[in-house]
């Protein structure tokens, strides 16, 4: 009477261990950027071919701006001059402003170094640098899904703001003047040593066209 029970138990254990191997969860790659924590480090080439690392700017406030030259939401901020004036104002105050393009080659929003230089000239934009991220590594790291996606990192390397540029999700140029600009507010708070009032919002805009997989 004992042996059948023993065999049964062993057979059951074997089946259970086989079944326990499943449960793959279908979830996109997890972003590691979390507001309030250390900003994840990255390195990416810029439009002159130099490799830029986040660590190069240790001790400075850094702004990351995800852009897409064909997107009407990005266009709203550049055509109105809003983005350029933010860039000028804050880079003059010592803030490092990095514009990033994360679209994959062949997809909408992808730019070669030449295209990027042309865009900067056309916009009369003044970022500290323009980084190219066609593999989407930096984009996924900061969970950039819609452009313009804005990130503010303080002098201590902590992520203090991530999300939309302002509170009016639209393509109307006139909305820029009446909107509350979250990035300006965050940068002003950091400069004054105050905590950022609104630290996280949902970015609005056109989707970032990442590469497959």
């Amino acid at each position: 009477m004992r042996t059948p029970i023993k065999t049964l138990t062993i057979a059951a254990l074997a089946t259970i261990s086989a079944l326990a191997m499943e449960r793959a969860t279908a979830v996109p790659p997890a972003a590691s950027a979390r507001v309030g924590e250390a900003a994840p480090v990255f390195s990416a080439p810029d439009i002159v071919g130099k490799t830029v690392r986040l660590g190069d700017y240790a001790g400075k406030t850094v702004v990351l701006e995800w852009t897409n030259d064909g997107c009407p939401f990005v266009g709203k901020h550049y055509d109105s001059g809003n983005m350029q004036s933010l860039q000028q104002k804050y880079t003059a105050a010592g803030v490092v402003w990095l514009t990033i393009a994360s679209s994959a080659p062949g997809e909408q929003g992808y730019v070669t170094p030449t295209d990027a230089k042309a865009d900067l000239a056309r916009w009369r934009a003044a970022p500290t640098d323009f980084l190219l991220d066609p593999d989407g590594v930096v984009g996924h790291l900061y969970d950039a899904r819609a452009t313009p996606h804005m990130v503010v990192i303080d002098r201590a390397g902590r992520l203090v703001y991530m999300g939309a540029i302002d509170d009016k999700p639209s393509t109307r140029l006139a909305d820029v003047k009446t909107a509350h600009n979250y990035v300006a507010a965050a940068l002003d708070a950091v400069a004054a040593g105050q905590p950022v009032a609104v630290a996280s919002t949902q970015a609005y805009g056109c989707s970032v066209k990442y590469k497959e997989g």
Partner: protein, 701 residues
Amino acid sequence: MRIVSILRGILSLALVAAAPLLASTARADGPPAPKDLVKADLVAETTSIAAGATLWVDVHLEVKPGWHIYWRNPGDSGLPTTIDWRLPSGFSAGNIFWPAPEHFVQNGVGNYGYAGSADLLVPITAPKELAAGQTAVLKAEAAWLVCAEICIPGGAKLSLSLPIATQPPAPDPAVAALFDAARRQLPVPAPFETRFVAAAQDYRLLVPAAAVAGQRHPAGMFFPIDGSLIDAAAEPIIERRTDGLEIVLRKVPGHTGAPATLDGVLSLRDENSAARAFNVSANPAPALLPAETGIFWWQALLLAFLGGIVLNAMPCVFPILSLKLLSLAGQAHSHRSEQIYHGVAYTAGVLASFAAVGGALLALRTGGQAVGWGFQLQSPIFVAVLAYLLFAMGLSLSGIVDLGASFAGTGGRLAGRSGLAGAFFTGALATVVATPCTAPFMGAALGYALIAPAAVAIGVFLALGLGLAMPYLVATFSPGWQRVLPRPGAWMDFIKQLLAFPLYATVAWLLWVLIQEIGPGEAFGALFGLVLVAFAVWIYGRTRLATPFGRSLGTGLAAAGSAVAIFLAASLTATGGGAVPANAATQGGLRYEPFSPQRLSVLEAEGKPVFVNLTASWCVTCLINERLALDSEAVREAFAARGVVPLKGDWTSQNPEIAEFLQQFGRSGVPLYLLYTGKGEPVMLPQILTAASVLDALGKS
């Protein structure tokens, strides 16, 4: 001169002719014009409008293939489609009734919207005072973002003129088909209730079984109205449970806090049928212990088996087992193989009864009844009949009547069919009597059984039965212990009469349960029934040695008495008014509040520590735990010091709310003890409590 003017004319003509060509080539290089991408129309359901009437209009949008527009919550990117109304004074437009959207995900970015076409229905209400004979002009400005690879904002100015009539307007047959199709795309209010649980990384939407009844491979999608909660790029994970469907929705990374309700559109579809969309507003369910800590099926079988063995020591089963063992000792010198047959017959009786009880439980559950382990005792009729049976057995043991082998198997011959049938019946009786006692480990095993497939569930019940029958079965196989006992003699009669008393004690307890269930007034019927049973047993016993006529008379009177007793039992109904509530404060015990899931949610939201005690009058383990552990001074003081609010749920009679709550914790019977510490998930205490273990759990929190 004329030639020049002719030439000039030709040139201008040529230019005019060429212009579109030039323009179109220029356009071919640039982005497509918005009006090519989305065509918008404003259609009214009726041909006129009357004062005070509500008119439905359809903003019909046709989207170019390959492009899409967005729902009210566009997802990770995009913009919702908007309609801005310009109506004559007194008219008002309601909110947009959105058709069920689709889910688009591309490489880590998710959106909710429409490809192909979308009909946005809006109700327009006319003012009460309206001059007939005039025309009302309804104007709307629709704005959208249409995207494929690139995004292009677009819009259209729409207008509709309707004559104002005095009669109620008739529907326009030309557009009836359009409106019919549009309405079929709208989500309907859900005819079922959904709940949600906020876990660390995701929200779990719980859809009840009724919503997916009969579907073999249900799948679903949830579209939240609030875009800040759920990650639009993650596909939901669907988990099938017996109590329904669990849809796991990944939270937006970095999202903190939980909403009061989870609102949105739930789209359910089966493999072969079209999707159905429902508007849901899910309330939070109390924190669930993760389903993954459930036990494996082989663990459930093992626990059930062990539980069955331990059940033999419980006051319900102990008398029966003792009598069986005694009867075995009485036949120590009869043929061993006969004993083994008896052991097997008893086991068969136990197994058959457990299979029947288990089958009945599963059948009731599939039928939608909220029943759990011990459900038999929620019926006062069953309790009364069980009391009669045990009383009759006790009387038999006391010597009022010698019912011989067919009852307790004491005395008489074991040989032959009657002996085996008697053993089978005793096995069945043991099962019936064992049900109110929940042994340790049985709670988890049985809870698992009721949410597992039917075959596994029956297996668990059979394992329990096997455990219950095991001591006796083993005893019949190894007769060695019988030699230790003295030879059968008068002492056996003494033991037999002594064992009547645990049976009488069980009867007294069942009567107490009955009074809890139906109140003292109603219970009198059952009490009188007992008197009749006593009479029936006595008259039957008295007439066994009489003349044939006497015997028949005795049997007849006994039958009549029993019939009346059973009739009295059958007329018992569980009334709410007469019953004594189990949460009436016992002398010197914990002061409980009545349990309800709503009260628990409120206390949880307030962050107060709560102790939930789910019990029933017929649950012996529950009563022992209360007497020894929960009502002890140490525990009472500790609860008072920590401000723990004790909630008591009484499952003595049927209560679907408690049954559902039990099932959320993987249990199908009482007792269930939960300690909510005010933060995090609740701690489940073991089924056998001691004051020390309760204080320990409290201390750890």
